[in-house]
Symmetry: C2
Subunit: 380 residues, 2 copies
């Protein structure tokens, strides 16, 4: 019944690429508990992950198709994907939410890799994981973070098409800012109107919308909105992660309410110049650290407190790699990245700016319609 | 800057209740990595959890206020909560995303409890968790799932007020169905219009919206929408988890497009009668299993494949307890529950219905405006 986001060969290609890496590293099976990895290899997409009640498991053997070990409630939807081997358990269950079935599925494998490193988590109870380890004590569990992140970093043209679409939707929504926002509007109403505009422009969902507003900058970039009305001289920033078919945009825009101070104008121009400096050199052969340094040089500040100046983008709002001074990941064609420079304007004031690009052979492709150096002024 | 969802005494009361349980069980500290628990004890609310890059840690000692051990990027927002002891680390960091600082924070504790059981997960890298265990090998890590779930199950009147508000918003949005939905409308456009309506009615966000449509029922209850147009004779079901100040509603409504078959009319009436049978007996002294049995008796089917007929509701779309035949959790006043009976109508066809209630001394309070036995027919 459910429509697939990609044809079967997309998932087959991902699986084969993973299996090639597994072969070369002597890994028998990959084991996943998390939404992004489950969806990456199967196409299984549902918001039901919002419910923490039931665990979901995926096993990617070194040969053959992935095996889904999932609660009965997901069997119908999983049957609409390319997966053939779907093993279901009843959940919630009095004593065993799928662990015996999962252990049985893993019994033929001795070197099992799973994400254990940076950006990963374990979406199953620790107690059940320990029981799984006990039931499969013939096997060694290895850290598979590196190979999986390396695979997911480089997007297919089909993935890029979805990312281009949602970035275009975000750009269209931001273009309507002069009609949507006005002085005196409470910040939570600004958020509400922008969420609605994103949906009207074609976003499926808006899982992420943060921002701030304040005189000559804002205090942080992760807060939910207050009811404080926009005031003359405010800088308003909205940062959105909207989705289309499960793929995210992640970029922001700044607006001056009524007027912008020289400090704000200058900061905005500097942020845009920092993005341009990174985009100028962003191509295969350079590294994440190179992009970080290119931006840091324009910003002329120490690293600041955000920790990085951009990151990977795709099925998650943020993905590997990180644009930091220590991430030496080489850029490869079809990586999708955010460029996200930030500037401190005072002890409790900052500004941030963000664009989304694809690394190409040659100049990068901008997925977002890039902001110009002049901060837009809302005059309503 | 950021407005708090509750006054400080709400968080102090939660902390004291947890500490009372810790005292009685000989626990020195609670340790959390997940959004709901962090927010429950601190009030720290942000959509930034969408980014998997950085871990967030909370330690609740047996005496005194909770201690936040968090990335620098969250320091400003955390400072707006009632928490005084905020220990920050730089993240992403080349080699240590906060583990040394966390270990130092935990060094005075020998019995540390954390969620390890049903419905829990570990939102930090497994490798880092192992390193934490190594650095704090003086301490014993215990499963604290039970005490925390027991605490969170019973809501304060302030929490219930937010839940009442978002359930009211959902009810208002569903009441507009005759104007929003019509025969020939693609299902993904049905979803889009309903999301927008929820926001217009005052929801902050719609993290969960699933559903289905099909002749005489739908195939599952977790799918994203297809582009298939609604047809005469379809049953349309929408199930929404919208939020207000971080609290969820979780209920659904069924609509017949143009006309309803006798089987659909009868199934809808049976589902509503099942809810009524559970609500009839829902009060302190009864158990979750009692509610399950009351519904199962009306449904006159075996448990089916959904696994349960309702669950707790609050800061998460689904919370403990579960309305199953094996969950003997006694009902207590101010528990908020969903009643969610489902019926199989054929090998690939089902219907589900859901309401949200508060357990009170006496009859329960309905937070949703309850559906009547007659399935509403959309005649446009």
């Amino acid at each position: 019944m459910s429509e697939q986001d990609f044809p079967e060969d997309e998932f087959a290609a991902r699986t084969q690429a993973a299996q090639k890496a597994m072969h070369s590293q002597g890994i028998d099976a990959l084991f996943f508990t998390t939404e992004a990895e489950m969806r990456y290899f199967t196409g299984f997409r549902t918001l039901f992950w919002q419910s923490p009640t039931r665990p979901w498991f995926l096993v990617v053997p070194v040969n053959g198709k992935p095996i889904a070990v999932i609660p009965q409630i997901g069997a119908h939807l999983m049957a609409s994907t390319w997966i053939d081997d779907i093993r279901v358990f009843s959940a919630p269950h009095p004593v065993d939410d799928g662990i015996a079935l999962l252990a049985d599925t893993l019994k033929g494998f001795t070197k099992i890799a799973m994400p254990m490193g940076r950006e990963s988590g374990l979406r199953m109870p620790l107690r059940d994981f320990q029981r799984l380890r006990d039931l499969t004590n013939h096997a060694e569990y290895l850290d598979g973070t590196g190979p999986i992140q390396s695979l997911r970093m480089v997007k297919s043209e089909r993935e890029i098409a979805l990312l281009r679409e949602i970035c275009g939707i975000g750009s269209e929504a931001f273009a309507r800012a002069p009609e949507l926002f006005h002085s005196g509007q409470p910040l939570n109403e600004v958020f509400r109107s922008f969420r609605i505009e994103l949906l009207k422009q074609g976003a499926d969902d808006v899982p992420y919308l943060v921002g701030g507003a304040g005189q000559d900058g804002y205090g942080d970039v992760i807060s939910p909105p207050s009811a404080r009305p926009l005031q003359e001289g405010d800088v308003l920033m909205l940062d959105t992660g909207a989705t289309k078919s499960g793929y995210f945009c992640d970029f922001d825009r700044n607006f001056a309410i009524g007027q912008a101070s020289d400090a704000v104008r200058s900061a905005h121009e500097t942020l845009v110049r920092a993005v341009e400096a990174a985009a100028e050199i962003a191509r295969p052969g350079r590294t994440c650290a190179d992009l970080f340094q290119a931006m840091a040089k324009v910003l002329d500040q120490s690293e600041g407190d955000v920790g990085r100046l951009g990151h990977g983008l795709g099925m998650q709002l943020t993905e590997a790699p990180s644009l930091t001074g220590f991430d030496e990941t080489p850029l490869r064609a079809n990586m999708v990245l955010t460029l996200e420079p930030s500037l401190a304007l005072g002890p409790d004031r900052m500004m941030v700016h963000e664009e989304n690009i694809v690394i190409r052979d040659g100049s990068p492709e901008f997925l977002t319609v890039p902001a110009g150096p002049d901060i837009p002024v809302i005059t309503r």
